[in-house]
């Protein structure tokens, strides 16, 4: 296995981009659909729950032999059979994220930016750089993410400010409980899967030089991504108040199209699109890398690279499975963002628990 080390900044940046890339997809609309004017509360609850993934991953890694990734640690704790089953779930999770996000981003490009370009050409045009970046490995991805994260977050902040200055609806967040208190609170728990991508830390943490660097990287990642996810939902509701908020295809893109400061500053979406596409490519590359790493570690392969290109082909094949854009978004919302936290919180938590029990039993025996 390639065991090049990465720093705290690279680790945090990979996590941030992997988590926040969904802000360029219809996720704010999905939150508005279920929470109405209280969509921001759902995002807030989800953000407050994201440390659970971090604590469980840390717990799992601490109860395995040093330098193990989440995949290796899961197998070590659960044993080869059950461990492989859980790892297969992890693989399915990373792989599903990759092909669904590829499809959703391609649909975005096809519907708003490149309406005449065939869909498969857009997908292939995205898939090739994704595979190349994933092939370059985690170290290269980390460096690239570190240089791109600032640009992406800055572009988001500028668009949000521009949107607010163009249209600001007073009292847009009221009624406070939106579609109802119990619904908002329960959906806040379900939508903790918005941060399921935190699972990538299962691969990143073992690459850090010292275990003392783990919390720093994790908390930086959680703070920045929680802020970004929350603030985009929050501002979206002010610029596109309910019920308009539930009718837009790609909220952030529409927000960027709305920005207008007189004659000279308008039509800014093409400027921001560059950084957003970088974000999409990097997210997909991380997803592809994680899928490949999970698979190679399950198969005990010494390297990740041989799996990258075959998997990329598989990603392409699966991304055309949804019959339409709506179906792809539906799969994302109804499956990935509903049951995602079972994978990102549930399995690591169970593994951690088992690891603790096993450690205690081992301690008693000795």
């Amino acid at each position: 296995m390639n065991t090049h080390r990465i720093g705290v900044r690279e680790t945090a940046s990979i996590g941030i981009i992997f988590i926040i890339a969904k802000i360029f997809l219809p996720f704010q609309r999905s939150l508005a659909e279920i929470g109405g004017t209280a969509a921001w509360i759902i995002a807030l609850i989800a953000a407050m729950l994201c440390p659970l993934t971090w604590w469980s991953i840390r717990g799992v890694l601490r109860h395995a032999s040093g330098g193990s990734t989440l995949i290796e640690a899961t197998e070590e704790i659960w044993g080869p059979w059950l461990g492989t089953i859980w790892n297969l779930v992890y693989f399915t999770f990373f792989f599903t994220i990759t092909f669904l996000v590829l499809r959703e981003f391609s649909e975005l490009l096809a519907s708003d930016i490149l309406p005449r370009t065939p869909m498969n050409i857009i997908m292939i045009a995205m898939l090739i750089p994704i595979a190349v970046v994933a092939y370059a490995g985690l170290e290269a991805i980390g460096r690239f993410c570190w240089s791109a994260a600032g640009l992406i977050v800055a572009s988001v902040v500028i668009v949000l400010m521009g949107g607010l200055m163009t249209h600001f609806e007073p009292d847009a967040l009221l009624p406070f409980w939106g579609t109802g208190r119990s619904q908002v609170l329960s959906l806040g728990l379900v939508k903790s899967s918005l941060f399921s991508e935190m699972l990538v830390f299962g691969f990143l943490l073992p690459r850090l030089r010292k275990t003392s660097q783990w919390p720093k990287a994790a908390w930086w990642c959680m703070s920045v991504s929680a802020f970004t996810i929350f603030i985009t939902t929050f501002v979206y509701l002010f610029v596109f108040p309910y019920p308009t908020a539930i009718r837009l295809n790609v909220p952030m893109f529409e927000l960027s199209r709305l920005v207008i400061f007189g004659r000279w500053i308008q039509r800014l979406e093409s400027v921001f699109l560059i950084s957003w596409l970088i974000c999409a490519v990097v997210k997909l590359a991380i997803g592809l890398y994680c899928s490949a790493a999970t698979l190679s570690q399950m198969m005990k392969l010494p390297k990740v690279q041989p799996v990258i290109f075959p998997l990329a082909l598989l990603v392409y094949a699966c991304s055309i499975l949804p019959g339409s854009e709506m179906e792809a978004v539906l799969w994302d919302g109804q499956y990935l963002r509903t049951y995602g936290s079972l994978v990102s919180i549930g399995i690591p938590m169970l593994t951690w628990l088992l690891g603790m029990i096993k450690s205690k039993l081992k301690g008693q025996q000795t």
């Binding site: 109405g36 004017t37 519907s111 708003d112 930016i113 490149l114 309406p115 005449r116 370009t117 065939p118 050409i121 857009i122 292939i124 045009a125 090739i128 750089p129 190349v132 163009t166 249209h167 609806e169 007073p170 009292d171 847009a172 009221l174 009624p175 406070f176 409980w177 939106g178 579609t179 109802g180 208190r181 596109f240 108040p241 309910y242 019920p243 308009t244 529409e254 199209r257 709305l258 207008i260 004659r263 308008q266």
Partner: protein, 431 residues
């Protein structure tokens, strides 16, 4: 050899993304930029779409246009197409327009009066889905037909159609006599809110001016008549001659998807004031020293108005606290308004007139038309715990019974470049 193989592999990787340009290339030479779209009801439950396309510079010269700026220069190409929706109209029009029609640079969406009175939601619902159509496009409701409006786009001074629209649709530029925001986004957001009255710029084509038949009445023999206030007019009724045969003056008010009436320029300014969107502008008032005379004040808002809502079950009371200030810029009065006692008299009179005018517009829109142009509903909504409760309340049904209070204050800050009135030498009286 290995390097060569790598380079050969890299070539399609680099080249493939660029291929997307082959399908979606935008060559301005081949494009027809639609600047304005007008919609009128059609003969068979469909619509008549009228397009104003920016005239390409080369075609303009070929059409006999005078590049030196002659008056015959055609700056837009206008055509109409009957169709059931905008996309179908564009598709059909493309058969006889050589260049590729595109909405990406469109500036205005014009709704004809009869369509506006029938209901505009079918048209808006279709247009908002179009990926070329931007939510920043301005919406205009025109008196009469939209195609007449589009055919009247004949600016005399400005030869750049894009600049002409930008300037004419900027409330700051045209004296704030239209709603502060009349963008498609604001229009449809208001329309989608229960009870909220969407507003657009009110416009009217002036064929009389185009034909040179507009006449301004000669000197009136009735010396006792009061001076009219210019702002108390609608688009289409301005006493003028010459220049572009289109008026942008006042606003059109909607109840739900249907237009219910027009507001004069003055009423529009009052509406902007209560909405907290007041743009510095000149307002005319009756002179307190002589009601027949008018005086002009450059008015600005001291701060955004406060809107306070009190809800007791179904009873709603809204209070507006407005703080304005201004500079006296035009006065016929012989009274010196710079003197403290006269200044106070003027301030009190302006406050009364503002209160009277805002009260009239609140009565007209809320109590007469049952529509909320002031976004009071947004604040009322805040008093409900959930959206279900808010929608069950049915704000529209309560608009008529809503009570209001007005607390308007005005302070005179400056008095232009002269202290006291100008007085004829013979009438000068030194005490």
């Amino acid at each position: 050899m290995r390097r060569f193989l790598r380079a050969m592999l890299a070539l399609p990787m680099v080249g493939l993304p660029l291929l997307s340009g082959c399908w979606d290339r935008l060559d301005p030479e081949n494009m027809a930029f639609i600047m304005a779209v007008g919609v009128d009801p059609g003969p068979s439950s469909n619509f008549i779409y009228t397009f104003a396309v920016a005239m390409p510079k080369s075609s303009n010269a070929a059409a006999g246009g005078d590049s030196s700026g002659g008056s015959q220069e055609q700056i837009v190409d206008v055509f109409s197409q009957e169709a059931s929706n905008l996309t179908a109209a564009l598709m059909a029009s493309q058969s006889y327009v050589a260049r590729r029609l595109t909405l990406i640079h469109s500036k205005v969406f014009v709704l004809g009066e009869s369509l506006a009175r029938k209901g505009v939601m079918p048209v808006l619902g279709e247009v908002v889905r179009n990926d070329e159509f931007r939510r920043t496009v301005n919406v205009i409701t025109t008196k009469g037909r939209a195609d007449t409006f589009i055919h009247s786009i004949k600016p005399t001074m400005e030869k750049d159609i894009n600049l002409w629209f930008e300037l004419e649709l900027d409330p700051h530029n045209i004296g704030a006599v239209t709603p502060h925001h009349s963008r498609f986004h604001d229009f449809i957001v208001d329309m989608e809110q229960p009870g909220t009255g969407a507003t657009t710029i009110l416009s009217a084509a002036r064929p009389d001016i185009e034909r040179g038949k507009a006449r301004i009445a000669d000197e009136d023999s009735d010396k006792k008549a009061s001076q009219p206030i210019e702002g108390d007019q609608y688009a289409g009724t301005l006493h003028r001659s010459g220049e572009t045969p289109i008026d942008f003056f006042g606003s059109a008010v909607y109840r739900g998807e249907r237009m219910v009436g027009f507001l004069t320029a003055y009423e529009t300014i009052m509406m902007n004031m209560l909405r907290g969107e007041f743009e510095k502008t000149t307002l005319e008032f009756r002179d307190p020293s002589d009601e027949k005379l008018t005086l002009s004040i450059i008015m600005s808002a001291q701060k955004k108005p406060d809107m306070d809502i009190k809800r007791n079950k179904d009873e709603i009371e809204v209070s507006f606290k407005v703080r304005m200030e201004g500079d006296l810029i035009g006065s016929f009065s012989k009274l010196d308004y710079t003197l403290p006692q006269n200044q106070k008299k003027l301030e009190t009179s302006v406050e009364e007139q503002l209160r009277d005018r805002t009260s009239k517009i609140l009565d007209k829109t809320m109590h007469q038309w049952s529509t909320d142009c002031f976004h009071i509903g947004n604040h009322v909504r805040a008093t409900f715990p959930t959206l279900q409760d808010w929608y069950a309340f049915k704000w529209r049904d309560h608009i008529k019974e809503t009570k209001y209070r007005l607390d308007i204050r005005f302070q005179m800050r400056r008095h232009g470049d002269q202290v006291g009135p100008a007085v004829e030498g013979d009438k000068m009286n030194l005490k």
